[in-house]
């Protein structure tokens, strides 16, 4: 077992100025938001430039990291000491964070470029780019931060950006509601993360990743400074935070609604980057999870449950974006499963995360291209036969499709099979469930392809599909190239695992990739069955333009596994009742008491004031009575 290496404090080179990665997009967002309409004409170009600049910094930093010996590949950069020794702000550039930074800035830049075309008709394009830049800055802060508090700032920043972008078309009530829903569901997760950070602080006296190595945690358990229960609690609370951000069960309900946002947002935030922050958090907190097997087991269970749930939901959705969103849930479930499997799993999880970032962004942008061509129609039942009309989009989409279902030698094949095989070694049940999930993936992705690009044309009357401009297709091509080769590049020869080892540790014996294995063959077989089934249902057969009623299972899946109904019954309605009771108690009880008291005093005063008649003789009479009483009392006392 190889542990992560120590962090080396560093200030030179490009790594020394790697804070520019965060600062540049943030500056872009600030200029675009504060500049207002004046920046309308060139705002999108500035946004793209800032994103590309961050990408360049990331690439150079990455090259610098590669040039360092393995033991010095974790670089800490101190930005400033907030409270010296207690709350420092710094960045941590290590293989893990630089991988994320490359993904975020790389895919992010491509999506920025794509958005120029996609949003060209939107009057608020400048604001859109400002939010995108804000998102990139926050996401980079999240992954580059060297402590949990700064991570949390980024965590909330991406939440804010996500909220703003889901609700970007806020004139649509559904979009506004979806934005609020995402924000509120994320609050639940953030609550868990906050409590976890507090617990870490009270237990270890530090929130910096450098101070929280596996040795520290096991040492604390050994010396009795932290109980096993505390570590497990920290792990579970971190998992809760991860579940909220990554749309894992039971906090999955917001992701499907989040598709109300513009498609580039769905691609960047709700497929490629932000939703994977939960996986990053679990991997980054590996020290806690490795010391808490229970928490680790829960992570894998949540991962498997979500991958199945997402896959089932994906089977029933006719909205192309929601289908992809279900798929995203499912794929993040795979990553979460990998993240719960220790160092080997980490490498596969992050590798799958990166390849998924490519092929899912590829497919989302492809979906956006299709929608662009079909007058923003999202119902796949109104597509069909689009292959001949928009060849570039179709080919790139199909490459992404083959990658996600694990077609041999494409990206998904390597990374997903890696996770499944590791899971199989770890726990047969989890492994086989993951295999089943892969089979379902084969079905629903094939369904999507057949319904969209093949079969009869079921277009709306006014639809005139056309290929998108090259500013949109070029990113698709680049992403599809990544979808093809990235997996093989990362997994073969354990390249990525070795690269990540300084950051997350690695097993003594690196696993060899088996091209032929039981799990791999079973997966391929099931995927083939699923694809074939999809062909019979949606490729060969006629697809009705209006969704048939469907079986119980279909309804179950269409309703997102009754997740919203469950939330409503369990939380919303009791909450409403509680609020109503509180209102009742406030109106009748507390207000009644207060108003009653006031009315009593008011009424009494109203009667008492009648004593003030204004007649001086009445007053004189009371004075005389008073005098008589005084004289009487004096006489009485005197005679005693």
């Amino acid at each position: 077992m190889q542990s992560p290496v120590e962090i080396v404090q560093h200030s030179g080179g490009v790594i020394g100025v790697s804070w520019l990665m965060i600062a540049l997009p943030l500056l872009g967002a600030a200029i675009l938001l504060l500049g207002g309409r004046r920046t309308d004409r060139w705002g999108h170009l500035l946004g793209v430039a800032m994103s590309l600049a961050a990408f360049v910094v990331a690439v150079v930093s990455f090259v610098e990291i590669l040039g360092l010996p393995e033991s010095e590949r974790r670089r800490g950069i101190e930005l400033y000491q907030f409270i010296p020794g207690v709350a420092d702000m710094g960045l941590l550039i290590d293989p893990l964070s630089i991988s994320f930074a490359l993904l975020i800035t790389g895919v992010g830049s491509l999506i920025h470029i794509y958005s120029i075309g996609y949003m060209s008709h939107d009057p608020d394009r400048r604001r859109f780019f400002a939010y995108l830049n804000l998102f990139v800055a926050a996401m980079l802060l999240l992954v580059l931060a060297d402590n949990y508090v700064a991570l949390f700032v980024g965590w909330e920043g991406v939440g804010l950006a996500s909220y703003l972008l889901i609700g970007f078309w806020q004139f649509k009530p559904t979009a506004a509601a979806a934005a609020k829903k995402a924000f509120i569901v994320n609050r639940v997760g953030d609550f868990g993360l906050l409590i976890a950070i507090f617990t870490v602080w009270t237990t270890f006296g530090s929130v910096a990743f450098g101070d929280l190595s596996g040795a520290t945690v096991s040492g604390a358990i050994g010396s009795g400074a932290a109980s096993q229960g505390t570590i497990t609690a920290i792990g579970l609370l971190l998992l809760l935070g991860a579940c909220g951000k990554s749309a894992q069960l039971p906090l999955q309900s917001w992701l499907l609604d989040a598709m109300e946002g513009p498609t580039p947002v769905s691609a960047l935030i709700h497929a490629a980057t932000m939703v994977t922050a939960g996986v990053y958090l679990v991997v980054r907190s590996g020290a806690f999870f490795e010391a808490a097997p229970t928490a680790q087991l829960v992570v894998t269970i949540v991962g498997v449950a979500t991958l199945l749930a997402g896959a089932i939901i994906g089977c029933a959705k006719d909205d192309i974006k929601k289908g992809l969103a279900g798929s995203t849930m499912s794929q993040i479930g795979y990553m979460m499963l990998g993240a719960g499997l220790g160092p080997v799993g980490y490498a596969f999880a992050i590798a799958h995360l990166i390849t998924h970032g490519f092929f899912k962004a590829n497919m989302f942008l492809g979906a956006g291209s299709v929608m662009h061509a079909m007058n923003d129609e999202v119902d796949m039942r109104r597509y069909g036969g689009l292959f001949s009309v928009m060849k570039v989009t179709a080919v790139t989409f199909i490459i992404g499709y083959l990658a996600i279902i694990g077609f041999p030698l494409l990206s998904g094949y390597f990374t997903k099979d890696g996770i499944i095989e590791t899971a199989m070694e770890h726990n047969q049940i989890l492994g086989w469930l993951a295999v089943v999930g892969a089979g379902i993936t084969g079905f629903y992705m094939s369904r999507m392809i057949f319904m969209t690009f093949f079969g009869k044309k079921r277009w709306a009357d006014d639809a005139h599909p056309h290929e998108s401009p090259s500013v949109m297709t070029v990113p698709l091509v680049i992403l599809s190239i990544g979808s093809i080769f990235l997996g093989a590049f990362l997994i073969l020869d354990n390249r990525f695992m070795k690269f990540l080892a300084p950051a997350v540790g690695a097993p003594e014996e690196l696993p060899a990739f088996h091209f032929v294995s039981t799990a791999g063959l079973a997966t391929l077989a099931l995927v083939a069955v699923g694809a074939a089934f999809a062909w019979f249902r949606y490729g060969a057969a006629e697809v009705p333009q209006v969704a048939p009623r469907g079986s119980f299972l279909t309804t179950f899946a269409r309703r997102d596994l009754y997740g919203d109904a469950l939330n409503e019954t369990l939380f919303m309605r009791p909450g409403q009742w509680l609020a109503r009771i509180a209102v009742f108690v406030d109106n009748r009880g507390i207000d009644g008491l207060v108003n009653g008291l006031a009315a009593t005093i008011g009424g009494t005063s109203g009667r008492l004031r009648r004593v003030q008649t204004g007649y001086v003789r009445s007053y004189a009479l009371s004075i005389l009575f008073g005098a008589a009483v005084v004289v009487g009392a004096l006489l009485y006392v005197g005679n005693m």
Binding site: R609, R610, Q612, T613, G614, Y615, V616, R617, A620, L621, L624
Partner: protein
Amino acid sequence: MTTHYLVLSALLFAIGGAGVLVRRNAIVVFMCVELMLNACNLAFVTFARQHGNLDGQLIAFFVMVVAAAEVVIGLAIIVMIFRTRRSASVDDANLLKY
């Protein structure tokens, strides 16, 4: 004899007090107040004789001075009220109330 004087003083005082309560003409009310002051003076003088001490007479003298000042101001106020309201009834000046 002291007791007699004191009882007379008490009677005059009480009559004055009752007059203040029942009469409405501000000037008559004032006269009743003067009557009460005079009743007090009688008591003072009586006590001075009882105790063989001239202080009582002296206080009576001061009471007269104060009463004179009071009458001056009081009557000026009555005249002013009469000028503005054409009435000397104390019941008419009853605006300061609930």
